[in-house]
């Protein structure tokens, strides 16, 4: 007899995605769907998609979905959650969306301790619009709007979102994970599930920053891109739990 040890989660629609080959957005989608499956909350979950490569996320999750304006997913999620306090609300946002144009909404959803979960895809670039600099692009990184490499004197410094969000009293759980290796993916999975659990327990705002790849705009193959996460991103964006007021530590 055989047992299925891995298959598509129910909460992930059985459709092809528009993501580029090897783009890890797809992995994170699956992890979110797995968390929804594991917690059995698909029927009361409302997801909020951003503007960015994951704009079509509304086509990929089996729960109710809203497509927000660029950067405003946290505000939209707040509106939903305040109407439906017992629902499970998550946003899925890129780095441009979350910490460039959406900075104010992000900080305030944290300060308010809004009972929602944010999945934050840090790929150090604007994927959707074709490779411009993100607030999280690394110093020296070449993008189409930092063609000579990001210089702190001109384009400023990359922002560490977890460190920033951890300073806010309303942030309950805040962790940085990566999806560059199978062990890291498994950790990411646990963290995402815990973030949803934090919300369900009404403990406050939870955010998981996922170091992710953009092979297309980094100009690397998918495997090289995973390598770049390891060699260049993680050193600047250390993995780990930055805040946890839930009193458990299963995520570590």
């Amino acid at each position: 007899m055989s047992k299925i040890v891995f298959e598509r989660p129910k909460a992930l629609c059985d459709v092809a995605t528009h993501y580029c080959p090897g783009c890890t957005h797809g992995i994170v989608h699956r992890l979110v769907a797995q968390a929804i499956d594991d917690l059995g909350v698909e029927g009361k979950t409302i997801g909020v998609a951003p503007v960015g490569c994951s704009v079509f996320a509304y086509n990929y999750f089996n729960c109710d979905m809203i497509e927000a304006a660029h950067g405003r997913a946290p505000a939209v999620a707040t509106g939903v959650k305040r109407v439906l306090p017992d629902s499970v609300v998550f946003t899925y946002q890129g780095d441009g969306d979350l910490i460039a144009i959406g900075t104010a909404e992000t900080v305030h959803v944290g300060a308010r301790g809004e009972n929602i979960t944010t999945i934050f895809i840090n790929n150090a670039i604007y994927g959707m619009t074709g490779g411009q600099m993100a607030p999280t692009s690394l110093l020296g990184q070449k993008t189409t709007t930092s063609p000579y490499g990001r210089k702190k004197e001109i384009q400023g410094n990359p922002i560490r979102v977890c460190e920033l969000m951890a300073t806010l009293d309303g942030t309950a759980y805040c962790a940085r994970v990566a999806v560059d290796t199978v062990p890291h993916i498994n950790e990411a999975k646990r963290a995402i599930k815990k973030a949803f659990q934090t919300q369900i327990d009404k403990k406050g705002f939870s955010i998981i920053e996922v170091l992710s790849t953009c092979p297309t705009n980094w100009g690397l193959t998918p495997t090289e891109a995973l390598e770049w996460v390891r060699t260049d991103m993680i050193p600047h964006y250390p993995l780990g739990v930055y805040k946890d007021i839930t009193g458990e530590d299963e995520a570590k």
Partner: protein, 69 residues
């Protein structure tokens, strides 16, 4: 026997599964699927340990893994 199956039409030929398989039994095929990608395939099903690493890293949920129990 452990078994990995591929939803071939969904595969984008990114090669991530190939790169993580501890048994090095995956490869990208020569044929194209209708999207124009070379889909991944398994060279030697026998050797598969159903570790699901390939499936875990696949961004497109192409792979289902069954373990003999």
């Amino acid at each position: 026997m452990n078994k990995v199956t591929f939803n071939v039409e969904r595969c984008k030929g990114c090669g991530l599964c190939v790169s993580v398989c501890p048994k090095k039994i995956l490869e990208l095929g020569e044929n194209l699927n209708s999207k124009g990608y070379h889909p991944s395939r398994i060279k030697d099903q026998e050797k598969c340990i159903a570790c699901a690493m390939c499936a875990v890293i696949c961004p497109d949920t192409v792979i289902t893994v069954e373990k003999d129990v």
